[in-house]
Structures are given as structure tokens and as C-alpha cells.
């Protein structure tokens, strides 16, 4: 009997290498050497949107999508909003822009509330955090008329849409565009990415949003795991190129996948 189940050896190896590299980068981060991340162009977009809001003296809206926090494939999107929310709130507080966040996530509401309160404290303006208006909870059914009507009335100058989005994407993005907002949209749900790209001024695609969250929050766990995942990507690239060359030379590459 073999130690590892027949046919699953390579998968096990890849899994171990990726997990091992994440742990290695985490160890390094604990020693004070944080892995660096590429600076994404969308970070300047966030600053531009905040500047526009300050200049026009109008609100910035933050929308964090839908989803349930008990389902593994929806979690990454929801978790990635937290880092972006903290950064945006703090910048808004520093520059004096008013941020408004109607959230549709019942379970995450408490967490997001704390994140925003702390961000205002970090910016040194805790008195500007309005617990009744900075963040409000909107159940999924009520959010559609709320965003459509309120955005038309309050005319936000900028909006950031992140997280896990369903079919509401187009309804909300259109409402905000109509209200004259400059929007940055990002999601990881495949069938809504195109609507985010088509309807918003700037967009983040899938993992870009996670990377954004990691870059902005400077959280060692997030940055280290991104660095570790990149090792997985290098493995894929190397494996593909080697396999391509060997396959062209007539080697049966399927025997590699033991």
C-alpha cells in the first residue's frame, strides 16, 4: 500500500507546496519582513473618487454586495470588502468626505460597523462617525428601492462597489451612474464581472479585489497568502510550458499526473 493514494500524488505535492509557501511567508512576515505587493492602478482611482467627493462637497457611497458567510466560495469576496472598507473610510475621514454605507449583509453588519468606527478613530475624528447614517442595514428586498431612490436624491459624487454580487449589480451600478457618481466596481462572481466592467468607470476583476484588500490593509496574513498563492501560479506556468515542450517532443505527459 502506498503512502499517498494512487493518482493523487501530484495534487498532494502542489497542495503541500502552496500551503508550505504561505506558512513560510507568514513566518517571514512575523519576523518583520512583509511580502511586497504590486501597486494596483485602482488605488489611485480610490483617491481620485474621494478627491472628487471633497471637491464637489457630496457623499461617497460604499456598497458591499450580498452573499452568505457560511458558504466557502462566497466568503473570499465578502472578506475582501473589509480591508477596502477600512481604508476608504479612513481616507474619507482624513480628507473630510462624507461616506455612506448601506450594507445588505445581516451577519457582517456588526463587523462592518466596528471597522468603520475604528477607521474614524484612527483618522482622529471619532465624532464624525454617525452610527445612524454612516452605515445602515438594508435587507436584500429593501435595498433595491433604497439605492435607486436615495442615490437620486442625495446625488453621491463617487461610489465603490465591492464584494460578492448577484443580479443587483446592474440595478445599483446604473442607479449610481445616473446620479452622476464616478464608480469603481469589483466582484468575483463570474456572471456579474462583465456588468461591473461595462457599467462602471473603473473596475476590479476577481482576485484584483482580494489583492486590493491585502494591499490596503497591510495585513500580514493576507499579503503572505497572496505571495504563497503566486507560487502556485508559477508552478502552473512552469508545468504547462514544460508539458507543452515535452508533449511536442512526443512524450506522453499524462504519465506525469500520477
Amino acid at each position: 500500500m502506498s503512502v499517498i493514494t494512487q493518482g493523487r500524488v501530484l495534487g498532494f505535492a502542489v497542495l503541500i507546496i502552496v500551503i508550505g509557501m504561505i506558512l513560510y511567508y507568514l513566518q517571514r512576515a512575523a519576523g518583520g519582513k512583509l511580502s511586497t505587493l504590486r501597486r494596483l492602478p485602482q488605488i489611485d482611482v480610490i483617491d481620485e473618487i474621494i478627491a472628487r467627493c471633497v471637491e464637489m462637497n457630496r457623499e461617497l457611497w460604499f456598497l458591499s454586495g450580498q452573499g452568505t458567510m457560511t458558504y466557502a466560495t462566497q466568503l473570499p469576496g465578502i472578506l475582501s470588502t473589509f480591508g477596502i472598507l477600512a481604508y476608504v473610510t479612513q481616507r474619507c475621514a482624513e480628507f473630510g468626505a462624507v461616506i455612506h454605507h448601506p450594507t445588505m449583509l445581516p451577519v457582517a453588519y456588526n463587523i462592518q460597523f466596528e471597522i468603520m468606527r475604528e477607521a474614524y478613530e484612527l483618522a482622529g475624528k471619532p465624532e464624525e462617525f454617525d452610527p445612524l447614517d454612516t452605515i445602515i442595514y438594508m435587507p436584500a428586498g429593501a435595498s433595491r428601492p433604497y439605492v435607486a431612490n436615495e442615490s437620486w436624491r442625495r446625488k453621491p459624487a463617487g461610489a465603490i462597489l465591492t464584494g460578492f454580487w448577484y443580479h443587483f449589480t446592474i440595478i445599483h451600478a446604473e442607479a449610481l451612474q445616473r446620479a452622476g457618481a464616478m464608480t469603481l466596481g469589483g466582484t468575483d462572481t463570474t456572471h456579474n464581472i462583465p456588468f461591473m466592467v461595462a457599467a462602471n468607470n473603473y473596475s476590479m476583476i476577481g482576485e484584483e479585489m482580494y489583492a486590493m484588500s491585502a494591499y490596503l490593509s497591510k495585513d500580514p496574513a493576507l499579503t503572505s497568502s497572496l505571495a504563497g498563492q503566486d507560487v502556485g501560479k508559477y508552478i502552473v506556468i512552469v508545468l504547462t510550458i514544460l508539458g507543452m515542450i515535452a508533449g511536442a517532443a512526443g512524450v506522453d505527459v499524462l504519465t506525469w499526473f500520477v
Binding site: 458558504y71 466557502a72 466560495t73 462572481t189 463570474t190 456572471h191
Partner: protein, 285 residues
Amino acid sequence: MTEGAKKSFAEKALDLDHRILASIVFCIIAAMILYPVSIPFPVSNYGQNFYDFVHSIPAGETIGFMLSDTPSTRPQLEPSTTLSLMILFEKDVKIIFWQDEFMGPPIFTDYIAITEDLLGRELEYGVEYVDLGYVAGEETGAAAFLKDMRTVVAGVDVDGTNLDDLPIMQGINSGGDFEYGFFNVACRCTEPMYVRQWQQPYGTKVGSINCAMDLPAITLYLATGQIKATANGLLGGAEMEYLTGHLGTAYGQTLAVSFGGLYFTILVILGNVFFFISRAGGRRE
């Protein structure tokens, strides 16, 4: 944009009330459904492959079928699902059904009734098919169910009959006991989940019935053969109707949808033309 400023034609056109746009699409679709015209169209290779895949299943085989449609997607997926079931039952294939979503069970009952109408005979429960009912738990549920069916459903079918008393369930307890399988995931985008939990561990040849929205996200699995074939939304249904010679609701709907698409195309072009005219006229967004 300041109030009272004189607006150009293009700007006025762009400010057109959305209620007018919505009313027009309402009228177009309603008219096309009430007065359908038939247009011949080429069958795509997805439709042909799915038809061939259903036919490739050997007679007498026992297969698994996760049939969990939702009311919203039912008009699109009913033709492809029931016609596949008809072909399978005609070949005396035995099918074990379950649902992974709470909306599914009543629709499943309807689908069996429709299939019986198509076949012109009653299906024998427990011999030709069995319904194991709703299985909760999304991915964990699917993994647990396909590993050990009897434990997860507590050894009984949806009506409480002991599974060991049903002839169809003899020797079947895991996803690996099926050579072939189908899943109708409606619009939930859970095809990768079944690839992960069914095709990968057990090597079952799976076919997917899904709404059109999911197609590009599963073409990569079709290319690698992880999913053998797909019935792609309403078009897949219309193709099945055409290939089996049972023209029905899907064939009629495709035309209404076509005109919706035509209207959309015109709107996108007009919207962009007006947008660029107004931008060239000096105003910026």
C-alpha cells in the same frame, strides 16, 4: 448639468424616461409570445453533443440525476430536462433522483408527470426511478451524499420507504456506482461543485443542464471532458425539441427572446451614438 440650460437633442434623447423603454420591451415580448412566428436556425454543437451524450448511455444502465430546477428557470429548462428523461426512460435506463436545493422538490414531481405524458405510460416507482428527496448542505451535502447515500438520507426515500426494499437501489450507495450522471443546477452556478465532488473523485461521466448564463464558465470543463455535454438554457431546450421532434414551448420562446435581443442591440447603439454626439458637443461627463 444646470437646470434651464438649453439641452441638445442628443442630451434630451439620453434623458428619455426609463418607463418608456421598459414599456416597449414589455410590449415586444408580449406580442411575440402571443403571435409567434417560426424561424429555422442552425443547431449548435453544444445541442448536438448533448443529444448524442443522452443517446450514448447504454440501455438498462442505472444513472444518477440531480434534478433541482427553480420556478424562474423552469420555462427554459423544462424542455431539455423532460425530453432527456423521455429518451432515457425509453431506453429503459433506471434513474436515481435527488435535489440539492429547497425549491426543487415540487418541480421534480411535475417533471415526472410531464415525462409520463411524453412517454404515454406510467413509470414504475422503485423499479424505473426513485426520488431520494432534498439533500441540504450545499458542497458538504453533495460530498457526503455522493460518498454514502444511505447514511445521509437515513436509509429511506422521500416517502419513507426503506431503500433496501426498492429493486433499483440494489448495489448502489455512492457516486462511484454511477457510470453516468446528470445535474440540472438551474441558475446557481454550482457546476464546478459537481465536477469537484462527483466527476473528480469517482470518474463519473456527467452532463449538465444549466441556464445560458453559465455556459462560458463551463466551456473549460467541456474542453477537458470533465463535463461531457451541456444543454444550454432556452436554446438547448429548443434544440432538444427540434432534434427529438417534439416542438413546444421553448421553440416559441426563442423568438420572443430574439426580439428582446434585437431591441437591446438597437438601444446600445443609439445610446452610444447620442452619448458621443453630446460629448462632441462640448459637455463632458
